[in-house]
């Protein structure tokens, strides 16, 4: 999978982006959509860190390491995909050298790069807990020092990711040219900015919940105390409900005010098959409200299959939202005489992304194998970890 990914990415880099099925209308394709999704799901890292270190929700200590690794995996993957996505990767540093401070993308790039480094630093102590490394005294000292830092890091991390999650939303909220995506701003940011933050925060815990559950199923070991997952669920649920409310309000404002203001009655967007109003319904109710309610109902929450499926729904809901923001926005015609277009990724695009996924799975499973991702695991005195089977994990996204 990794090899295939590298090959397709190589094709795109050497032969150019003509290898993809993107075109002048679909300037963004599979990659951007999935990057957004992945980053949203990776948000678990910052938010758990936030809860644990800043709000002192101690129970989450059980999953923080795993969360950090997931965050690292998601972000590094996304960045890798982005480097293939741009036409001139050699010029990536221009953004730092000649930044355009008004551009959401600049904000995104800055925050993501910084946050990636933060994640790396947060990753170090986890690595250092590895038994063999612990034999080196100087590393031990280093780790100790680092531990004092971790609160700062968590703080910084939260701040950073808060911003870029938002800016990612802003990316499309500012598209004045696309009434379908354009939203009025609160302060300097369009409403999507805050919606994205909220949704990411909501999806993050759910995703951690999912992975933890999945890993424990695969390695059939109990990794965390039974109350941790429901807790994650509850957090996710609360945020989700908040998000759904906010989203509804925003949508109403948009339908009745923003969009008509730009000269387009909102119904027009949904007159294009297959994007009927059902997509709006699915986004807000089916994959928003319902899981949120499930997660907030204690009885259901305690049943693992309800819990897990609700979490899954949440993640899907977020993915759907990102899909709508990226691809549907571009698919909808703006001029009366241009057509509604559809787009299907080429195998090179898919391949590249699969490669990223493969990389993620690899990193995660190695960390799981050699590092102590779930501190409680040892307290629950389980037998020594069996090596994780790669493919079994592959279906995570």
């Amino acid at each position: 999978m990794l090899m295939f990914g590298l090959y397709s990415a190589g094709l795109c880099l050497v032969k150019g982006l003509n290898q993809t099925n993107m075109d002048n209308r679909f300037a963004f394709g599979l990659w951007i959509f999935l990057d957004l999704t992945v980053i949203a799901l990776g948000a678990g890292a910052f938010f758990t860190g936030f809860l644990l270190y800043i709000l002192k929700v101690k129970e989450l200590g059980a999953v923080i390491n795993s969360a950090v690794v997931i965050g690292l995996v998601c972000y590094s993957g996304a960045v890798a995909a982005l480097l293939v996505d741009v036409g001139q990767p050699l010029r990536f540093w221009f953004t730092f050298w000649y930044p355009n401070v008004h551009s959401m993308l600049t904000e995104v790039t800055f925050c993501i790069t910084c946050y990636l480094t933060v994640l790396l630093i947060e990753y170090v102590p986890i690595v250092l807990r590895n038994r063999r490394l612990r034999q080196v005294p100087s590393f031990l000292i280093f780790e100790f020092e680092l531990h004092k830092l971790v609160y700062v890091l968590a703080g910084v991390g939260t701040f950073l990711s808060f911003f870029h999650q938002g800016s990612l939303g802003g990316l499309f909220g500012v598209l004045r040219g696309h009434p379908f995506a354009f939203r009025e701003g609160l302060a300097v940011w369009p409403s999507t900015f805050f919606l994205f933050v909220l949704s990411a925060a909501a999806a993050g815990p759910s995703f951690i919940l999912l992975t933890t559950w999945l890993v424990s199923k695969i390695s059939n070991r109990q990794l965390v105390r039974p109350e941790v997952l429901p807790l994650l669920g509850r957090i996710s649920g609360m945020l989700m409900i908040a998000y759904v409310l906010a989203k509804t309000v925003d949508t109403l404002i948009w339908i009745n005010h923003t969009s008509p203001g730009a000269g387009v009655p909102a119904w027009q967007y949904y007159s294009w098959k297959p994007f009927g109003t059902w997509i709006l319904f699915a986004e807000i109710v089916a994959f928003g409200l319902i899981p949120a309610l499930v997660l907030l109902t204690p009885r259901l929450r305690l049943r693992s299959n309800w819990l897990v499926s609700a979490a899954a729904l949440t993640c899907i809901g977020i993915a759907l939202n990102r899909f709508v923001m990226t691809l549907q926005t571009l698919a909808l015609p703006t001029l009366s005489f241009d057509p509604f277009l559809s787009y299907f990724p080429s195998w090179q695009e898919t391949g590249t992304f699969l490669g990223v996924v493969g990389f993620g799975v690899l990193v995660y499973s190695f960390s799981f194998r050699y590092l102590n991702l779930f501190p409680q695991e040892r307290d629950l005195e389980q037998p020594e970890a069996a090596p994780v089977r790669e493919p079994a994990l592959a279906g995570r996204y």
């Binding site: 001139q88 050699l90 010029r91 540093w93 221009f94």
Partner: protein, 505 residues
């Protein structure tokens, strides 16, 4: 003492830190980005002094005046004269020499030898796809000189259309607004004639016409019959009312012109409706030297079956073509077919030999008066770029077969025109118009080469054309058909491929 692994780490670390304090890494990063500005494959345009040169566009019989912007001697863009714009294809003309499908090499001498041998006792025929040029005269002289030479013209009779007198045009699939006549003339006349386009395809002319009769393919002549007789026409797919109203319009209109590919019934109807002599008039040609003894123009139909031993086709400048099926029958069993073309797209498929020719704007020659110019004109296409080695000049080649030196034919004709002393010459550089009798022959010749047009004086009444109603269906080339039959400038991809503007019909 021995360096441990840790020391090596330290050493490397030191190296790294040190390197960061030097320009090297930063410079490499910058250079990588700069390299992306001119990595291999990005051509560098040639710089140099900008010059302006004039010529005439030879892509279609309109022969528009061309103002070429050149760097040094290389044209980099073409543009029309004020009030006389070029069409989309004329604007790309200077790229034609670089067409990928172009044929460049052939053994002309071997072919010449073969033809010469057979010409002694077989019928040699020349098919001219743009009659009325000086080259055409060379062909006719050569065929007259050969023992059994025949000169075939794609259009046996070249009538002119007096657009000023036209009040209504019924066009049977003729691209009146897209490659027919001189764009600027048609544009100006458009305001005072009504255009009815009878055509199956959704061509641009059809879209822009005042009325579009969407007839079934191949029912043009049935429509003509219906219009002439007032009966039938069901096969066209139009209802009687429409046909009747059109017929009525045609009769009412004082001066009309029925554009169509040559065919007896069309000419008949034109006569009947009184177009002939009023809007359809005789094409006038510029004077030619008295010493030139031309062979007659033979209508293709009157050529005996299986009689032609050697068929020479001049495709180098084609305005229309004769379907191969119409020619096949005339050829002797072992006939030798040689075509002069710049690509395989045309008759190249049927011909035994293809002799590569220069393309506009490499070629030297003249352009016959446009179909919408009742006055005789004489316009040269002076080459803007040098033709590649190995191309053949059809006129000189065919002239050579009959020991006629056609190298100076153009100049001789210019001399004859000057001797006639009629008309005036308009020079493009300064936009002046000088009566011919006021300038010397060599000045006249120089002016023509530097970009000027000789126009006959208006005087004299317009004569009705000599129309032979016995020629096969000749297919007029609109731009879509041209694109299919010959090389087009590479940038036509903008029109046909990268946008939905034009569709190949």
């Amino acid at each position: 003492m021995k360096a441990t692994r840790r020391d090596l780490f330290k050493f490397a670390a030191g190296g790294a830190t040190g390197l960061l304090l030097t320009p090297a890494p930063w410079r490499l990063v910058t250079d990588a980005a700069l390299w992306s500005e001119n990595w291999p494959g990005i051509p560098k345009p040639v710089r140099g002094e900008l010059r302006t040169r004039f010529t005439h566009c030879a892509l279609c019989p309109a022969g528009c005046a061309v103002k070429a912007r050149c760097v040094g001697d290389q044209p980099i863009s073409l543009i029309g004269l004020p009030g006389k714009p070029l069409c989309a294809f004329g604007l790309m003309g200077h790229q034609l020499p670089y067409h990928a499908g172009r044929v460049r090499q052939a053994d002309a001498d071997a072919v010449r030898a073969v033809i010469a041998k057979r010409a002694a006792n077989e019928t040699v025929a020349v098919l001219d796809l743009r009659p009325g040029r000086t080259a055409s005269w060379t062909y006719r002289r050569a065929m007259a000189a050969l023992p059994r030479g025949v000169y075939l013209a794609a259009r046996s009779s070249v009538p002119a259309v007096n657009l000023d007198a036209v009040k209504i045009i019924l066009s049977l699939g003729v691209p009146v607004l897209d490659g027919w006549g001189t764009p600027s003339n048609v544009q100006q006349a458009r305001s005072h004639f009504r255009l009815i386009q009878a055509e199956p395809a959704e061509s641009r002319t059809a879209l822009l016409a005042d009325q579009w009769l969407k007839i079934r393919p191949g029912t043009e002549l049935e429509l003509v019959e219906a219009l002439a007789t007032g009966r039938g026409g069901a096969g066209t797919g139009l209802n009687e009312k429409v046909i009747a109203s059109v017929a009525n319009e045609l009769v009412q209109a004082g001066a009309l012109f029925l554009a169509a590919e040559e065919s007896p019934s069309v000419l008949e109807l034109n006569r009947k409706l009184g177009a002939v002599g009023k809007t359809i008039v005789a094409q006038r040609e510029a004077p030619v030297p008295r010493s030139w003894k031309p062979a007659p123009v033979t209508p293709i139909n009157s050529v005996p079956e299986r009689s032609i031993g050697v068929l020479l086709i001049d495709e180098s400048a084609a305005d229309s073509y004769v379907p191969w099926s119409k020619l096949e029958g005339k050829l002797a069993p072992d006939a030798l077919v040689v075509t002069f073309a710049s690509s395989q797209a045309g008759y190249g498929r049927q011909a035994k030999h293809l002799l590569p020719t220069a393309v506009y704007p490499e070629s030297t020659g003249d352009i016959p008066p446009a179909i919408d110019s009742p006055l005789a004109t004489f316009r040269l296409t002076t080459p803007l770029v040098a033709p590649p080695r190995g191309v053949v000049n059809p006129a000189q080649f065919i002239g050579g077969l009959a020991a006629i030196d056609a190298a100076d034919a153009l100049r001789e004709r210019a001399g004859a025109i000057h001797a006639a002393g009629r008309g005036s010459v308009c020079t493009y550089a300064d936009g002046r118009s000088i009566p011919v009798e006021d300038i010397q022959p060599d000045q006249f010749w120089k002016a023509l080469n530097d970009g000027a047009c000789w126009i006959d004086e208006p005087g004299g009444k317009l004569l009705p054309p000599v129309l032979r109603a016995s020629t096969p269906a000749v297919v007029a080339l609109n731009w879509e058909k041209r694109a299919a039959r010959g090389p087009m400038p590479p940038l036509v991809s903008k029109l046909y491929q990268e946008s939905n503007l034009r569709v190949r019909i």
